[in-house]
């Protein structure tokens, strides 16, 4: 008596996603194979040119490579910085734990543009970081921290650290404490109990946190745009310029679809991997 009911309740959400998400993204496919003539616009016909250029032209390859390397380094840095924090928050008996967790959530909830703006103030030529470095005598003249890889790495690490920490907290909380205690009783040192028990058992969290941060990093637009400027491009900013400045929608569509495929492939693979490891644990 409740069977048909389910679909009726799902209908509004499904229609919304079909009309304003799946359909429009799908319509990028035909656009991506249309020829584009400067000053004229999109013409009819078929061309694979946008894809060929994207995958052979060294300009595009450099941007794609930079995006992926950025994704990888940001993932690693959030993992290294975040794991101890997550471990602490998952295990501390402190009554402040919930508030400390909220303190991790706070930057996440804070406007992305605002957070990035803070890093502009920090990383600028005369910003706080350079002032500090010079005051400490570590550098002679200001270091360039904006509009390059270093700036993006710092900014994006900050932006996505909370995601990693929150996923890891969940994973570490799910590890039963007595498993670790058992290892200790059986003679393992704290270090080897951590390396052999805790770390492997938190692997599913490390995996999903890493995939999440990687995917978000290669999709990010605001932070790379503001910290990288119009010249130091990543895939998202490339798509942004293609659609809004160069008006080459077919090329932009091809770039969008490549980014989409990369994201979906990663999410799909991680799902399969999680099921495999999940079955084993």
């Amino acid at each position: 008596m409740t069977r048909g009911h389910g679909w009726r309740l799902l209908a509004p959400a499904l229609v919304l996603l079909a009309v304003a998400f799946v359909g429009p993204v799908g319509m990028l496919v035909p656009t991506s194979v249309r020829p584009y003539v400067p000053l004229v616009g999109i013409t009819s016909g078929f061309t694979a040119r946008h894809y060929v250029r994207l995958l052979t032209d060294s300009y595009y390859l450099e941007i794609i490579g930079r995006t992926l390397v950025l994704g990888l380094t940001v993932t690693c840095s959030t993992l290294i910085i975040g794991y101890p924090l997550a471990f602490f928050l998952a295990r501390t008996p402190s009554r402040w734990r919930n508030w400390l967790t909220i303190l991790v959530v706070f930057p996440l909830m804070l406007n992305l543009v605002v957070r990035t703006f803070g890093w502009i103030a920090l990383l600028a030529q005369n910003g706080l970081v350079n002032q500090a470095l010079q005051a400490l005598g570590l550098v002679e003249s200001p270091v360039k921290l904006l509009f390059n890889f270093a700036g993006l790495l710092i900014g994006l690490t900050h932006i996505f650290l909370p995601f990693m920490v929150l996923v890891l907290i969940g994973a570490i909380q799910n590890i039963p404490r007595d498993v670790e205690d058992a290892a200790r009783v059986l003679g393992a040192s704290w270090g080897s109990a951590f390396l052999r028990i805790t770390l492997p058992l938190s692997a599913p969290g490390i995996l999903s946190g890493s995939i999440l941060v990687f995917v978000l990093t290669i999709s990010a637009l605001v932070t790379p745009r503001l910290l990288g400027g119009p010249t130091y491009q990543v895939m998202s900013t490339l798509i942004y310029d293609e659609f809004l400045s160069r008006l080459n929608w077919p090329a932009g569509s091809a770039q969008s679809l490549l980014l989409t495929v990369m994201v979906l492939a990663l999410v799909y693979l991680s799902g399969r991997l999680a099921r495999r490891t999940g079955a084993r644990v």
């Binding site: 998400f21 930057p107 999709s219 929608w249 969008s256």
Partner: protein, 263 residues
């Protein structure tokens, strides 16, 4: 000192450093907003609140704030309606292919925002929805509905389905049982979903920036363009206001519904 104590102190030191890193830009913005100088500088030179009054008397900022709030409210209302119904169907009704539906509902969480933006830019141009408030609101519902589904689903899973059965046996029809028993019980999840939804919509740049029509401006896109144009303390002032409001909202949400359970 024992090894265990050394470890504890090292961990605490690291945690303090990381929290410092997380809060650094926030502190810098607040400080910069107080500077008397017309350029951005930290620590501030002299203290003033003039940048705040400058922003609040700037009609462009005020209009952007009003527009953003309105958009976020409409998007949140839509997401709540669609999201609560969908969550209920997924948890309480056996729907064939429910896992696939759940994956689709969550997809916008990891989907590149910029791709959603350009896809809708093209689509709306085709169906003449470009530059309309309706189009923008629909786009925001797409990106906020997963947050509602996630929070409400988590809440629903904690509610004994027998409660609804009990209500029905006692004479409540399906809808009456939902509104008298289930909905009051999942209120924390609904509130968390609404808060998420509002913030995600209010913060969005990558989708909005492609869809805003002439005369339309959201606050984050306004700040985004302002920064590209050149930074000054008025941006720090509006940012400080957002920091304070976000902090206040989170603190209230934590006290009221234990918000950390829903992140």
């Amino acid at each position: 000192m024992t090894a265990a104590r050394v470890r504890t102190w090292l961990l605490r030191a690291w945690v303090t450093l990381v929290f410092g890193f997380l809060m650094l830009p926030v502190v810098v913005i607040v400080l910069a907003s107080l500077s008397r100088t017309s350029y951005l500088t930290v620590p501030p030179r002299g203290l003033t609140l003039t940048w705040f009054s400058k922003v609040l008397s700037d009609p462009e900022y005020v209009q952007a704030i009003v527009f953003s709030v309105l958009l976020a409210l409409v998007a949140t209302a839509g997401s709540l309606g669609a999201g609560i119904a969908a969550s209920f169907a997924l948890i309480r009704r056996r729907v064939a292919g429910g896992a696939g539906v759940a994956a689709l509902l969550n997809a916008p969480l990891v989907f590149p925002g910029v791709v959603v933006g350009v896809a809708l830019l093209q689509f709306y141009a085709l169906i003449h929805l470009n530059g309309t408030f309706v189009g923008l609101a629909l786009a925001h519902m797409v990106i906020t509905v997963p947050y509602v589904v996630r929070a409400v689903t988590a809440s629903l899973q904690g509610i004994d389905p027998e409660l609804e059965n009990a209500a029905r046996v006692l004479g409540a029809s399906g809808p009456v049982a939902f509104f008298t028993v289930t909905l009051p019980l999942i209120r924390p999840g609904v509130a968390a979903g609404a808060l998420f939804s509002f913030i995600v919509s209010f913060d969005n740049v990558p989708v909005s920036i492609f869809l805003l029509g002439a005369g339309q401006m959201t606050l984050p896109v306004k700040i985004f363009s302002a920064i590209e144009y050149g930074v000054d303390p008025s941006i720090a002032a509006i940012s400080t206001m957002l920091i304070l409001l976000t902090g206040l909202g989170l603190a209230v949400a934590e006290r009221w519904i234990g918000f950390h359970r829903f992140v």
